[in-house]
């Protein structure tokens, strides 16, 4: 089903994601220093990379490599869970509106217009302002609840188009029950959209969560996350490049890999490849 070039384009991003996830999962075994350990004998200050601390230390003397790896666990977990939530929500909403059609669909879409017009970051800022520091669980919930609009729109479009396809009519004419038509003839054609948008959404959510944490509104210190490390390194003076570069590169690697993977999946799963 996938050609050789497709597979090649999938391989690199997939490999980097697998590698990074492995590093995240294996963090406690890869680095011996705990992420929040403040040196008892050393210097409580931010130091550039050295043999002992390959990524340097932050302003409290904590090991940046350890914090980046442990931060990966949190960043990835939050992104994956919230995307799982938003994708399911969006798919359900979109499929419902698209399959029912008519006025229900129109009302659903108007509501979606409203939701889409409120910049997501502003909603997150309001919630942060009102509720203050959010535990990670609530952060997942919040990111999930504000991230499903695009999926809903795309799935609804797909489902509406599929509803008119002749093989769906043929199934209905045969006397197949609606639930079975949805499951067997519609869902398999929506999958590629879901997989692609979910992959791209992971990229977006990683960046968004890092941004929120950077603003001090996401993952709360002392917990390590890529955004909080970046915030620590961000001073008006502008020194301490290691606090900007290492977590930043980690974020960009994941986001880039997800985006590249999404692009490659879109090509590989496009109906042209299946039908022709």
């Amino acid at each position: 089903m996938t050609s050789r070039t497709d597979r090649r384009r999938l391989a690199l991003p997939l490999a980097s994601l697998v590698l990074l996830s492995a590093a995240a999962v294996g963090a406690p075994w890869i680095v011996s220093v705990p992420p929040n350990a403040i040196p008892t004998d050393g210097i409580i200050a931010s130091m550039p990379p050295s043999l002992a601390h390959p990524f340097g230390t932050d302003s409290l003397g904590r090991d940046v490599l350890s914090r980046v790896l442990h931060g990966a666990r949190i960043s990835l977990a939050i992104a994956l869970l919230s995307v799982a939530l938003s994708t399911s929500l969006g798919a359900a909403y979109g499929a419902f509106a698209g399959w029912i059609g008519g006025r229900v669909d129109t009302v659903c879409m108007r509501l979606l217009d409203v939701a889409l017009s409120v910049p997501r970051l502003l909603v997150l800022l309001v919630v942060a302002a009102l509720w203050g520091a959010l535990p990670n669980g609530s952060l997942v919930l919040l990111l999930g609840l504000t991230g499903w609009y695009d999926v809903a729109r795309l799935v609804r479009g797909d489902v509406r188009a599929l509803r008119e396809r002749e093989f769906v009519l043929a199934a209905r004419a045969t006397g197949v029950r609606e639930a079975r038509i949805l499951l067997r003839h519609v869902v398999p054609h929506v999958w590629p959209t879901l997989v692609v948008t979910a992959t791209l959404a992971v990229a977006h959510t990683i960046a968004l969560e890092a941004g929120l944490s950077f603003l001090g509104l996401g993952v709360q210190p002392p917990q390590a996350s890529w955004g909080t490390i970046l915030a620590d390194g961000f001073t008006p003076g502008g020194a301490r490049w290691w606090l900007t570069v290492f977590p930043g590169v980690a974020i960009v690697t994941v986001v880039l890999a997800c985006n590249a993977l999404g692009d490659a999946l879109r090509e590989a799963l496009s109906p042209r490849q299946v039908a022709a």
């Binding site: 006025r103 009302v107 043929a170 004419a173 006397g175 109906p271 039908a275």
Partner: protein, 341 residues
């Protein structure tokens, strides 16, 4: 097949209509309708083929789908095998579907690209609990062979087949539930001539062997002349002429039918008929002309104010030959001489 036999017809369509709203929105009821189908009536007997012909947009496809309730009709009645289809609830309708099937025009769109053709054909058997497991496999193999494919094709996907083969799969899918009646919606229009002939012959053979009734929707009059027992000509959502095949092709009465028949290019050089070339395009079904829908393009010499005012009813002008025209009794030779003003 006798046209006016006294037996109860298998299918009886009365005043069927489908109007689509235009310019509607969710707080305002639509003010204008596209009259895709606007009062269509006919009957179809078991084992008979009625062809529904007309040009694109005349409502023939909508008629076919509305009869099967793949599109909900706006009004009218459809009696199938003694039951009123439009009054049926979802579940009884679903169960009844095994007796009436459809074959689509587009052999690419009518098969789910992600299902093997075996699975597509089995689906009908499974949902109507006609066969399961090995028995279903056997039936699928049998059906594939009946439509001229091979049993081992069952495990292949639609894209592995040519257009003609896919159309055979579509026919096998429809046959799986052993229906009495099939709507053939332009089943050969997308096919090349040599393949088209194969599928036309297949449909005829199946009708003979299984006693099927066809509603054969087509725009190609030549194909229709090979398939149909009776022919209904549609224009702008209405049947304007309905007659036994021979009568319709030999002696078309309605001016539109005459023009339609004369427009078909004949593959015999130097023997082209004297052609009636209609002016302009068919009007929009959102805004059909008053009176006879054909009057703006009509070439009939006796065309008069009545044509623009009164809707002509489809009336039986000679046994079995129904025409919707005010002036059909004024016999006109083909083509009509244009009277000097």
């Amino acid at each position: 097949m006798s046209v006016s036999s006294g037996a109860t017809p298998l299918l009886e369509v009365r005043d069927l209509a489908k109007h689509y709203p235009v310019q509607g929105s969710w707080w305002r009821s639509p003010s204008q309708f596209i009259r895709a189908v606007d009062g269509v009536s006919f009957t179809l007997h078991a084992g008979e083929t009625l062809a529904l012909v007309g040009e694109s947009g005349c409502g023939k496809t909508t008629t076919g789908r509305a009869i099967l309730r793949l599109i909900e009709p706006t009004r009218g009645s459809v009696r199938f095998d003694g039951q009123d289809l439009l009054a049926l609830d979802r579940e009884p309708l679903r169960r009844l579907r095994r007796h009436m099937q459809i074959v689509f025009q587009d052999p690419f769109g009518s098969l789910n690209p992600r299902l093997t053709i075996g699975a597509a054909i089995r689906e009908g058997l499974l949902v109507h609990e006609l066969a399961q497991g090995a028995e279903a496999d056997r039936r699928v193999a049998q059906l594939l062979e009946e439509v001229g494919l091979r049993a081992e094709h069952a495990s292949r996907y639609p894209h592995e087949f040519s257009g003609g083969q896919r159309q055979r799969v579509g026919i096998a899918r429809a046959l799986a539930v052993a229906p009495k009646f099939i709507v053939c919606d332009e089943p050969v229009s997308a096919l090349d001539v040599s393949v088209q002939a194969q599928v036309v012959n297949l449909l005829r053979d199946l009708q003979r062997d299984r006693g099927l009734a066809y509603l054969f929707i087509a725009h190609d009059l030549a194909v229709v002349s090979h398939m149909a027992d009776r022919v209904a000509v549609m224009y702008l959502g209405r049947i304007v002429e309905l007659a036994p095949r021979a009568a319709l092709f030999a002696e078309p009465r309605m001016p539109y039918t005459q023009a339609l028949l004369s427009a078909v290019p004949v593959p015999k050089p130097g023997r082209a008929p004297r052609r009636i070339v209609l002016a302009g395009d068919p009007p929009s079904p959102a805004n059909p002309p008053s009176g006879c829908v054909f009057h703006p393009r009509c070439q009939h010499p006796a065309k008069d104010a009545r044509c623009t005012r009164d809707v002509p009813v489809l009336a039986e002008k000679s046994p079995g030959h129904w025409v919707a025209c005010h002036h059909v009794d004024v016999t006109t030779p083909l083509p009509p001489p244009l009277a000097p003003a």
